[in-house]
Symmetry: C2
Subunit: 246 residues, 2 copies
């Protein structure tokens, strides 16, 4: 039987993972999944992911690709793997993927959601999944500023220690800042993201929402192509990879 | 200045607490709060709670009483204490209480909510706050059975190792089982609860919802006054103390 490609949708609570990517000596999402995949499909099975989420970042819609030659029906794969995975990670869906799929290169769009809580008291049952900020935020200013990021731009100002030889150009399709009660969500959709890019954008928007800059200064920060011009790095806990599209 | 009573509303994620009650060598909610209260109001300050929640049980509306002689305005107490508390516990409100209040004896009603998830895949971002059960539950049968528990009854069948000398009679005002999508909530309101009583009721309702008993057999289980006749103990993670009324 020829090996076939299966695309998995994966959710995890990033709190106790040292990010997605497998690293000897660390508990990572890819590492835990690799153990389960090998256990089920044999020692040569492996899993590649669409996004390298950082330590502490969560996922509801990470995508992973496995190549298997098992006759197991695709729809039974999530339950089979979930029985071998710890409680803070799960495969939520599986579908057959074309033979030539490039799980990183074929991505057309990804959505990251950042969650902030602005109530008078920190939300103890959600504290692992948000950034708690009790200073008032100017949501309208943040949303207006975010619109300057749309389109194809050089995001070097929002890259953590960018390698000068690599391109820092990415396309952002959407960057929406919206409030629901005490909660603020920042949704950033793009064709790809630099290391720490979403968290740097969120930290900059928060500094701006606290009055450090006016919305149009976001354009200057972007154009400066200089990390020191942008704001702080938002904590990992508030960030979640919502979906990846192909 | 004469000491005054202040009633605090307290929320905590019970996962990393060994229950409410202070115990040397264990991290407990009362212990962590006692440290903060002493830090703020002096070495003789202490805090008494309305409910002794078990290890792993959460609270959104635990009530604690402090006696203080500080001139601090009551409305400033939550923020002052929260600055000294770890992220998984917070004081959400404070109000002046009458001098003669008995924080345990004067309770008229408490609501515990138990949360179950019944989807095809475990909810990784809520796994600390629910019981994940993928076998289908007969919610209508569970709700019908729960109605036999209402009123003033001897709940010995649902008590963990009851001391024969102590009364096991309590009054349940409400026991509702309701589904919202993949989530099932069991709300139990009563004037007080025996040790493990809510979790034993939930475990019994779940066994019944899986077909072990018919709804009217709940009456026999209650009347037997025998723990071995009831169902299993539901895990602590799904339970949350929602409020306490006086």
């Amino acid at each position: 039987m020829a090996p076939r490609n299966v695309k998995l949708t994966i959710a995890y609570d990033g709190t106790d993972f040292h990010g997605w990517q497998i690293q000897p000596g660390y508990r990572t999402a890819q590492g835990v999944l690799t153990d389960a995949v090998k256990d089920l499909f044999g020692p040569y099975a492996r899993i590649c992911g669409a996004s390298r989420t950082d330590a502490g970042v969560h996922a509801l819609g990470q995508v992973g690709l496995i190549q298997i030659d098992s006759p197991i029906p695709t729809e039974n794969i999530p339950r089979a793997l979930n029985g071998k995975l710890p409680p803070d990670i799960a495969v939520t869906a599986a579908e057959d993927a074309p033979r030539g799929i490039d799980i990183i290169g074929d991505v057309t769009s990804k959505l990251y959601r950042y969650t902030i809580h602005t109530g008078a008291v920190r939300p103890v049952l959600d504290i692992r999944y948000c950034w708690y900020l009790w200073h008032p935020l100017d949501i309208e200013a943040m949303h207006a500023a975010a619109q300057y990021l749309l389109g194809r731009n050089d995001f070097r100002s929002f890259a953590a220690s960018a390698d000068r030889r690599e391109s820092t150009v990415r396309t952002i399709f959407r960057c929406d800042v919206a409030r629901t009660g005490d909660w603020v969500h920042i949704d950033v959709e793009g064709d790809g993201f630099l290391y720490n890019m979403v968290r740097n954008i969120v930290g900059t928007l928060v500094d701006l929402g606290h009055g450090r800059w006016t919305p149009d200064q976001m354009k200057d920060i972007l154009n400066a192509r200089d990390r020191t011009r942008a704001g702080r790095l938002a904590p990992a806990a508030g960030l979640c990879l919502m979906w990846v599209k192909y």
